[in-house]
């Protein structure tokens, strides 16, 4: 189907206009508003005590969530790609569940399970470990929403590379552990990297699930995203723009990593 030159141009500019008014112009406007008052003003707004503590909390959550996702995600992907067992289909469906569940419902679910009146309320009531309205709650919410990333990036790579090399290593007498470190891990490293990058970005950016389980106090339990909404609601528009720009930088880095990895994958 070949469009006449006129219709071709109309289609092109309609598509570009749609992306423009929806994505490009608003994003450009935020960048302009963030930097228009000068870099000094921008820096002052992202280095207030509340902002620094939000950055610390967000990075702390990332530092807990990413290793846990890798530690449990890689073995799960291995089991799904290499083994046949009963209930595999169910396991596959459960892994995709977090993508279909609203962040607010994630928050409700965690409150109902781990809150003081929930089935696991004894952790808080008897051991004094505050889950909901504490750091563990934020971590659990972040793991819930990021759980599929590492598994879904690593599993297809495992299918693609097959088992030839692993079997060869095994016949040559290497142990399971040696095979994993020398053969499997090096071949999944890019998929694993991308899965981890997506996990970092989503953890830093999660809002709905986190606001449900956090006490949202500036300086103690506010992550970067909670700080953005808190500042906006208090009428500090510029402060919200500055932190948004900071978070947007992370999103752009993710896109760059994605493009780079795509090119790399196509080459190999």
């Amino acid at each position: 189907m070949t469009l006449s030159p006129l219709w071709r141009l109309i289609a092109r500019y309609a598509a570009l206009a749609y992306i423009g008014v929806l994505v490009l112009v608003p994003v450009a406007l935020i960048l302009w508003r963030s930097f228009a008052p000068g870099l000094g003003e921008f820096y002052a707004n992202i280095s207030t005590p509340a902002a620094i503590s939000a950055l610390h909390l967000s990075l702390l959550v990332v530092a807990i969530v990413v290793p846990l996702n890798v530690l449990f995600g890689v073995p799960t992907a291995l089991v799904l790609a290499r083994n046949h067992f009963r209930g595999k289909g169910v396991l596959q469906a459960v892994i995709d569940l977090p993508f279909a569940v609203s962040p607010v419902i994630v928050g409700v679910a965690l409150i109902l399970l781990w809150g003081s009146a929930g089935a696991f309320g004894f952790v808080q009531n008897h051991f004094g470990l505050r889950i909901i309205f504490g750091l563990p709650g934020i971590v659990l919410a972040s793991i819930f929403v990021t759980l599929p990333f590492v598994i879904r990036e690593v599993e297809p790579v495992l299918h693609e590379i097959g088992t030839d090399q692993e079997e060869a290593a095994a016949t040559l007498g290497s142990t399971w552990w040696q095979t994993f470190w020398r053969i499997t891990l090096p071949s999944i490293r890019w998929g694993l990297t991308y899965g981890a990058v997506l996990t970092v970005a989503r953890t830093l950016g999660e809002y709905g699930a986190v606001i449900m389980v956090s006490s949202n106090l500036p300086g103690t339990s506010q992550t970067l995203t909670l700080l953005v909404s808190d500042r906006y609601n208090r009428g500090a528009g510029y402060g919200a723009y500055a932190v948004s720009t900071l978070l947007m930088t992370v999103a752009v880095i993710v896109l760059v990593v994605q493009v780079v990895l795509d090119v790399r994958r196509r080459r190999t």
């Binding site: 992306i19 406007l29 459960v94 409150i111 499997t184 950016g205 948004s244």
Partner: protein, 266 residues
């Protein structure tokens, strides 16, 4: 890797335990909470005027957003696959920005252009159109990314053959291209709809939770939790989850059936 029976069982066990603690048990807690309250509590929670209003707002806006997504998603995918212009790769990369951008940032970003301080004088804050714009923003990639790979694979020889037999663009589009794209289009639309009805972060600042006008169900759930009405929150959550699963299931079934019919036709 050499299959070891004991090893496999152990690893399946660990994976299942991890998924259960993180995903399944919390979701089971919602069902449990709702069951504890009994059928009448569930019924009164989901039929309360506020709940019904929130369902109406959520479903109307999400349905409209899904339709717009199908039209413009198809158009954008078409332009990215069949057209060529400088900067095309950049536009292609920008499509993924809404997935990479935190939802609350999406809210702030849209308010900069369509909020009270809009430089173009468009003021959508606290209107259903504002909620719609936020949902369009966060669901932009679904249809585009579902249709794009399929459009790349569409048999251009069939199109040329049809053209040589005198078929016009409209016939080629409705008889050859659209049928091939339908499964992908539907599954992209299903994902977009399911995302839209649960969306919270991007809607919260721009919508402002005006009851019956912009308050979506996810915001109503948050209000219920803040008022310590756990059973009510659980009931609304179950309805939202059920709608999203049913939509995804129907669209997937429709999609695979269309795909099968395509196979048979060939």
């Amino acid at each position: 890797m050499p299959a070891r029976r004991g090893g496999t069982a152990l690893r399946v066990g660990v994976a299942t335990l991890w998924l259960s603690v993180i995903v399944l048990l919390p979701l089971a807690a919602i069902v449990w909470q709702s069951a504890k309250g009994g059928w009448s509590a569930f019924f009164s929670a989901v039929t309360s005027p506020s709940a019904v209003d929130s369902f109406r707002v959520t479903l109307t806006i999400s349905a409209a957003v899904t339709v717009i997504n199908m039209v413009f998603g198809l158009l954008v995918a078409w332009v990215l696959v069949r057209d060529d212009f400088p900067g095309k790769r950049l536009v292609d990369a920008v499509i993924d920005l809404p997935f990479a951008l935190p939802t609350i940032v999406a809210s702030v970003v849209l308010l900069a252009l369509y909020g009270p301080s809009s430089p173009v004088g468009v003021h959508l804050q606290h209107t259903p159109y504002g909620v719609g714009a936020a949902l369009l923003f966060v669901t932009l990639p679904f249809v585009v990314r579902a249709v794009q790979p399929v459009l790349l694979e569409v048999d251009q020889e069939a199109e040329q053959a049809a053209a040589s037999l005198g078929a016009g663009n409209r016939i080629i589009f409705t008889r050859i291209i659209l049928p091939a794209l339908t499964p992908a289009l539907l599954s992209g639309a299903g994902l977009a709809f399911s995302r839209a009805i649960g969306e919270f972060g991007s809607v919260v600042l721009i919508g402002g939770a005006v009851p019956g006008k912009t308050e979506v169900s996810s915001q109503w759930i948050r209000t219920l939790i803040e008022n310590d009405d756990r059973t009510g929150a659980a009931a609304i959550s179950i309805v939202l989850l059920a709608i999203s699963f049913v939509v995804l299931f129907i669209l997937r079934t429709l999609g695979s059936r269309t795909a099968k019919r395509e196979e048979l036709d060939r």
